[in-house]
Symmetry: C2
Subunit: 251 residues, 2 copies
């Protein structure tokens, strides 16, 4: 038995998220079906994180086991050829053999997301489905200041989907940086793990601060309330990118 | 009569280029139809440059005349609303009133293009239709050196489409810079004007240099030959972006 670890990129637009769904296309299904035609048996793909409908990935990590031994480079080329033939918006950026105690989800020690806001009046063309357009001028510095109240170990109940299945709402947020790049506002978030909708919920409230609808302190108050009803806004999925999953021993 | 100057962005994928075509959708038709519903009469849109099928624009300039006087901001909002309703991948980034001697095409003194190469093995997902993927490692420094032979005033017959209608193949190329940005190779070209397919033809030959199939000097030889048959390769349209048109008196 060989365990193959994949680095994946996808355009989230056509998918109902990573996880296999009975009622629509998923990234997991796309890759499992491609892999099955390559290795000749059913496989189960495990990823570092689930993602919502419309959320993109630049560097998701995932693994599956196979009885078949193939050079990892040939496997990634074969997977990409099949994904392409099937018209899937998923690509394998890298493939390596890993030991059987390496697990894409359970071994992961850090997850990094990026959220892209296009801060402009005009509708999006090339970036349609790839950013959240906000017409009103955003104060990115105020957003960054407000974000710092969320960094550290907190009960993130306010910033958690009602469907979230995590046992505890207490998480440690390592980083939440907001910066302006021309007419874009970029938010970077990193933590060992996140609650369901946590990044989008945090971004939604920061956007209210950026638009001047919330004072900077209101984000800290919303956190302290530990009440989902205190959430101002959940940002739409199309601006969110899963950027990187980190593992012990990697630089 | 009022002359309105527009700054336009578009995703070239669904269009047969800027210019109106009998047999398919064009950017010109999209905007003229939107404008006609706003001002209530037929208009003719003039742009700084034509573009081919699949070529994108980040900052094309164009103008049209109207009997109707509208605040430019309201006009751009109305145009964007109509373009969006019509499902067009075109946006008006800016709209200003200009004097009647300002002409988007004839007053333009400089045009800048960017060409994006995604230098990676994996098929493109988020960038599909927005870059030229080249799997083999490109030597961007060699490409930049080769490009410098094209800068200046030359007869660009080799780098000109057989369908080009310009009276002369002599053009002055102000800038042709190649740089690597991670797994992308970016080529920037600027000139008062370009011949049909000139940027794509130059990029095609530079890619041959980057892949090691052409020595650096071969680009200068192809130029000196003044022979379209000496062209190595015409780069595909999806990597090309019209970035900027410049006019006298603008910073």
């Amino acid at each position: 038995m060989t365990r193959y670890a994949l680095t994946l990129e996808w355009d989230g637009t056509p998918y109902m998220g990573f996880q296999r769904q009975a009622h629509g296309p998923s990234v997991q299904q796309a890759i499992e079906e491609a892999a099955e035609t390559v290795v000749g048996h059913a496989v189960t793909l495990h990823a570092a994180g689930r993602t919502d409908t419309g959320v993109h990935a630049l560097g998701m990590r995932a693994h599956f086991d196979s009885d078949k031994t193939l050079p990892p480079f040939r496997l990634s080329e074969a997977l990409n050829a099949r994904l392409r033939m099937a018209g899937q918006a998923v690509a394998v950026l890298d493939c390596v053999e890993v030991s059987e105690d390496w697990h894409a989800r359970f071994s992961c020690i850090n997850r990094a997301y990026e959220y892209r806001i296009a801060n402009r009046r005009a509708p999006l063309t090339l970036e349609a489905g790839r950013a959240w357009r906000i017409a009103r001028d955003l104060d990115a510095e105020a957003m960054h200041r407000a974000a710092q109240a969320l960094v550290g170990k907190h009960d993130f109940t306010t910033f958690r989907s009602v469907q979230c299945q995590a046992a505890s709402a207490v998480k440690t947020l390592d980083r939440l940086d907001v910066r302006r790049e021309g007419d874009h506002v970029i938010i970077e978030a990193a933590a060992r793990s996140f609650l369901h909708h946590q990044v989008r919920s945090m971004v939604g409230c920061l956007a209210l601060v950026g638009r001047g609808e919330w004072p900077v302190d209101r984000v800290a108050e919303a956190l302290a309330a530990r009440d989902r009803c205190k959430l101002g806004l959940n940002a739409p999925p199309e601006g969110l990118y899963f950027v990187k999953a980190s593992y012990p021993g990697e630089s």
